[in-house]
């Protein structure tokens, strides 16, 4: 079985085993064990200096690991064919050739993944239009603003037909319209490629990603499906304007509810539940809401799961 078949059958696009990187005495990444499922949109979260960019850099082959190993699309990192165009990325802080125009650089990068000149030019033009850089296509790299460079970086990451796209802080520094466009471009890749997104924007990651991992001080502290990380299938947060001990006790007695606790804000109640084997999560949530109303609760808001932010703050 070749690496591609292994990757497809195993369903793992990226796997790291005790991956570590030290810069002198500073341990940037510490025995990281990470699994990124094939086809997922995977969020990589962590505070500044957590090791996200170093992890990205190792997986893209820019930085050599100090120890440990990783497989990318089924290949050991050392043997990964970086020339095959299967991996693309938006590296942080990388600048474009200052002396060539945006379009020339795009066509060149397209040619490296095997696109014919005409095809590379067509794709480049489309992608530059998507990131609102059509007018800047003839500008030299040296004259691009930070935001333009970022959009150019995103456009080049979508060149060709990559199986794995790694985007380091893709929307940082972009205006809301461009950030929205970038999120749409990432969503469009879902199912055809695995996308790894590193971001500080937790709401964006929660909205965009199917899976996530949280890294802190170079170590993995939490990882899994977004639904599990946010407990979407085990918890609802209800805002009840007339919440008191009696109503809380009646809600706790609703079938399927396994526990309740006060939320962070006034009137918030965290309701933990379990579904039965033949019950859909949506049905369980509906039953809880109906039960709460029947118990006399004046429900003014319901949210499934907890915010990723809350989870993030718990583990970092």
């Amino acid at each position: 079985m070749n690496p591609t078949e292994q990757q497809q059958s195993g369903g793992i696009a990226v796997q790291t085993e005790n991956l570590s990187k030290a810069f002198g005495n500073l341990i940037a990444v510490d025995r990281l064990n990470l699994q990124i499922p094939t086809g997922s949109i995977f969020g990589l979260l962590g505070p500044n200096g957590a090791g996200k960019t170093t992890t990205f850099s190792m997986l893209c082959g820019f930085v050599k690991p100090s120890s440990g190993s990783a497989t990318v699309l089924g290949y050991p990192l050392k043997e990964f064919p970086f020339h095959a165009g299967r991996l693309s990325a938006l590296p942080q802080d990388a600048r474009f050739n200052p002396d060539r125009t945006v379009l020339q650089s795009m066509i060149f990068l397209g040619s490296l993944v095997g696109l014919a000149r005409r095809e590379a030019e067509d794709q480049a033009t489309q992608l530059l239009r998507a990131v609102d850089l059509t007018d800047a296509a003839r500008m030299k790299g040296a004259h691009l603003s930070h935001g333009m460079s970022k959009r150019f970086g995103i456009a080049q990451a979508f060149l060709g037909r990559p199986d794995l796209v790694m985007l380091d802080e893709p929307t940082a520094g972009l205006d809301p319209r461009n950030a929205f466009t970038v999120r749409q471009m990432i969503r469009a890749l879902a199912g055809t490629a695995t996308v790894v997104v590193s971001s500080h924007n937790l709401a964006e990651v929660q909205d965009l990603c199917t899976h996530a991992a949280i890294i802190s001080q170079g170590k993995l502290v939490s990882s899994g499906r977004m639904d599990d990380l946010t407990s979407r299938n085990q918890q609802v947060m209800m805002t009840i304007s007339n919440l008191d001990a009696a109503i809380q006790a009646r809600i706790e007695a609703i079938p399927g509810v396994v526990g309740v606790m006060a939320g962070g804000n006034d009137g918030e109640l965290k309701v933990m539940f379990k579904t039965t084997a033949d019950q859909k999560v949506e049905d369980a949530v509906s039953a809880i809401i109906a039960g709460a109303i029947a118990a006399g609760a004046s429900v003014s808001g319901v949210r499934r799961g907890q915010d990723l932010e809350q989870r993030y703050l718990e583990v970092t």
Partner: protein, 277 residues
Amino acid sequence: MNSTISQALKIARFDLGTSIRTSKAVVTMAVYAGLALLVAAVTTFLQNKLLAEPGVQEGLKTQMDQIQQVISAALGNDTLLANHLVNMPVALMVFFWLTQSFLPLLIAVISSDMLNREIRTKSARFVLLRASRSSLVIGKWLSHTTVFVAAIVLSWVVFLGYLAFNLNGFNLFQSIPLIMKFFGFTLLIGFCYLGLTSLMSSLVDGSGTALLLTIVVLLFLAGLAQSDMFGWASPSHYRYKIWSPRADEILAGVGAYVLFGTLFFAAAWQRFLRRDI
């Protein structure tokens, strides 16, 4: 391997295009051609003036033995080499000697950012997602070699063109075998020192620092060449071997330059494969 070469050619073409657009290639060629023209003008002026003095030509003929002895003494009593040299056109000798002496410095000035520039700006990362590190190194080397060869060809054309029209008694066609030999050696020297410059460029990220380091290493190698015990470890040690009329000496010189060039380049390549980008 095919993929590496094909990618390297694409990278070389793009890099060369950048050199042309930024005028770097043009400036390089202009510098080489300008220096060649300067050397041609000065040597032609001096030689024409000297030979025009009454009795000088006759004097040179009668004093050839003494001139040969002086050159021989300067070359460590190598009579055969001295005899070989006195029969060469002076302007050609001077030009090749200057080329041997200053070409390494010119290469260092022009190519010290060969590998480190794109590492410094991290623009190499966009390329290395799609091309192997080997193809980037080969592509950069090909691009710089192309500019270097074009500059050398131009400088020789300018130099010989000037001589052909201005130097009294210079027979271009008669000198062609010697010109071809010197031209070939110039390319060889260029290969060797382009290798050294690429090594320094792979070791140090700042182009100014890389240039300074290359100059220090060049001075060190020039000094080392004088050592009785370790002179063999410097390419400068072999510079006069390629002047020799003896085939074995020439081969030793050529072999040394090829070997040093290959070693320098291989070291740069290995360093680039192993380093963080």
